[in-house]
């Protein structure tokens, strides 16, 4: 492949990775920002979203779009409720103690993963995309006959992949509006700044925590609903997104939402481009190396604030 079309394909792949990553990492970041909980089970909420999508689309039947629309509404809601319940049942009981919540969420990871394995089996489940047209992309080249438009071999994307990018952007804008323009967002931000003072001012901190934990898990599930027509639902699929989400959150700054977005785009794009030009393994190596560098030279992350 020529360099130009190659780079364009790589960027498109990177944009899809970024889009999914920004949603999962955002969930992780919000949960940490507001609750100071490092949610190790985050990848499993992602996996649950994907598996539920398969489950919902397979019982709904009819045109794939009907099942998909049902899944995009129901799956994140269900996962969110489950997470909020887990917050009430588990995290609240350990008083959100940083060490114990890590251990508790590791436990949740295994419970969710193994329950899925036992109930829905170990097979990879495909979900049909609501629409999926292959779009050949043109490339412009200065050739013998002057400026010409060519259609390079292999340079293509699908309508669904473009939809994923657009949908992630829309969710991000909606999330930003909720956080900055609504009362719920205000309560969340108040809790994030100082939960004790917020409580003194009548903010129901316990409820906010449950909502936030549910929202974080719901975002991961939403990312999974979007990705599952491209990949497949599988009980072990939560591992990679968790790792990448952690990488993003550490680079962006724990709890900093703009930092998370920037880091997700950075990591997603570099993963796409390095994977295409060199190898996916190298992309992972570089991302991990970046994390190490950030931890050494800027422990608070790109946009994080130094802990007081």
């Amino acid at each position: 492949m020529d360099f130009g079309p190659h780079l364009m394909l790589a960027s498109l792949e990177g944009a899809v990775i970024s889009a999914i990553l920004v949603l999962t990492a955002m969930g992780l970041s919000i949960v940490f920002g507001v609750m100071r909980v490092v949610n190790v089970a985050h990848g499993e909420f992602y996996m649950l979203g994907a598996v539920l999508t398969w489950f919902i689309t397979s019982i709904v039947g009819g045109h794939p779009a009907i099942g998909f629309v049902a899944a995009i509404v129901v799956a994140p809601l269900l996962v969110g409720c489950l997470a909020a319940g887990a917050d009430r049942l588990i995290l609240k009981r350990v008083n959100y103690d940083p060490d114990r919540t890590i251990v508790a969420t590791i436990g949740m990871l295994y419970i969710i993963q193994q329950t899925t394995l036992m109930s829905l089996g170990p097979d990879a489940r495909p979900v049909e995309a609501p629409f999926n047209t292959r779009l050949s992309l043109p490339w412009f080249e200065w050739g013998e006959n002057g400026f010409a438009m060519i259609w390079p071999w292999g340079l293509s994307t699908t309508s669904y992949k473009l939809f994923v990018i657009a949908a992630a952007a829309m969710v991000l804008v909606a999330l930003w509006l909720v956080l900055t323009r609504t009362k719920v967002g205000l309560l969340m931000r108040a809790t994030q700044q100082d939960s004790e003072t917020a409580q003194a001012f009548g903010v129901p901190v316990g409820k906010v925590y449950s909502w936030v934990f549910g929202l974080g898990a719901g975002l991961a599930a939403l990312g999974a609903v979007l990705v599952v027509p491209i990949q497949q639902a599988h009980y072990l699929m939560g591992h990679d997104p968790l790792l990448l989400a952690f990488i993003v959150v550490i680079i962006g700054g724990l709890g900093s939402l703009p930092g998370t977005v920037i880091a997700a785009i950075l990591i997603g794009m570099s993963d796409g481009i390095i994977s295409v030009f060199f190898s996916p393994t190298l992309a992972k190596i570089i991302a991990t190396f970046l994390v190490a560098m950030v931890l050494v030279f800027r422990p608070q992350g790109l946009l994080g604030k130094i802990a007081r």
């Binding site: 990775i17 990879a124 990949q231």
Partner: protein, 434 residues
Amino acid sequence: MSNGTSKTSKISRRSALLGMGAGAGALAAAGVLPGTMGFAQAQSSAPIKIGFQKHATGIGAAYGRWYGATTDAAVKRINDAGGINGRPVEVVVEDDGTDPGRGAEVLEKFANQHNCDVAFGTLFSHVVIGSAPRAGELKLPYFVVSEGHHVASGMLNRYTLQPGITDVKSQVISMAPFVANNLGKKVTMIYPDFAFGHDHRDFFSEAIAAQGGEVVAKIAIPPTETSFTRYFPSIPRETEVIYHVMVGPAVLTFVKELGEFFGPNRPELFGFIDSLEAVDIKSSGLEFLEGTYFWEGMPRYAQADQADYEKDYRAAVGVDENGASIADSKDVATYAHMFGCWETLNIIKAGMESADYQGPQDRAKLIEAVEAMTDMPAGADHPQGAKRFNGKTHQTFGSQYISKVTDGKLVVEHTASIEDGLYEDEVDYTAQSF
């Protein structure tokens, strides 16, 4: 005061634990002793225990499920016909998680905990390679159904045999002439990055070179990968044929993305059916496969000239004429591989009968009996076709099928004979001591 109380309670707990431990030990000892004696006395009626190392979870789960169904059907047939040496066969299933470390532990459980006579059934090559040394140490006959060249290469040991399925080297040697003569000579290979894929890479490169062709690019993909488009730009423009073989839970995504990458202008495609095992070829996004070729170990779709014994086998393992479960037409089998379990179990039966196998003390005799086997005719015991077992290399040879996707079904276009897949011996396991 409180200190003293807690101290006494601690001592009493400790002594209680000690007592329990001693009791458990005594129980275990008591349990083991009469057990062994009982076995010696009742050797003619006790069941023959076959440990089935199953990929129930992990990346091999789709294969594990169908290997399980085939094993159950084969054992039922053997038991219905009177068992082995008049003794019933009992299958002990253990999940290895498609993990080499766990695989070795599972063999240990078979040998020491379940007192299995033999172990059997592993597919994924890294699990076989991880488990086989332990089988040798435990002196437990280990019948694998894996396709890898690791058995015949001499890498493993006298206790590991592969009598029920052909190996990759033999498969690709018999495929290369077809690829070079019908599809093209410049081949790009896409394969999973572990032992099985490396067998494909090494032996196909050799075999296509012998046909005057060449491999222009080798693209290795980790078997746990979930997204593939980013690997495809490395396919060189000059490629005439793409040779693809992929395993793992994401094979459907792999094939789909291959189609999306090329669109209407694809080169010729020659795949190993592994890339599509347990996947419905009519899944949306796979339409581009029409007119492409696949290697099949055994034809998934019932062919026009299907033999009666194959029909019976299909019914026994619960697979319809489209290669899917009779109970659920969307549940596609790993039909091109799972016959290996059926045939291996029949070979274990034949070997045990010819060795007059009585118990674990006869394990060496069993291996010698299997090593003495040569030609096995096609039939109810060997529904995939005739086999020729090489006792020295512990590897069987058989027919290979090349099918073309025609109207959404795989139709056999070429059958490679046993002779097409033969190669020189690389090891003589019979020279090794037990």
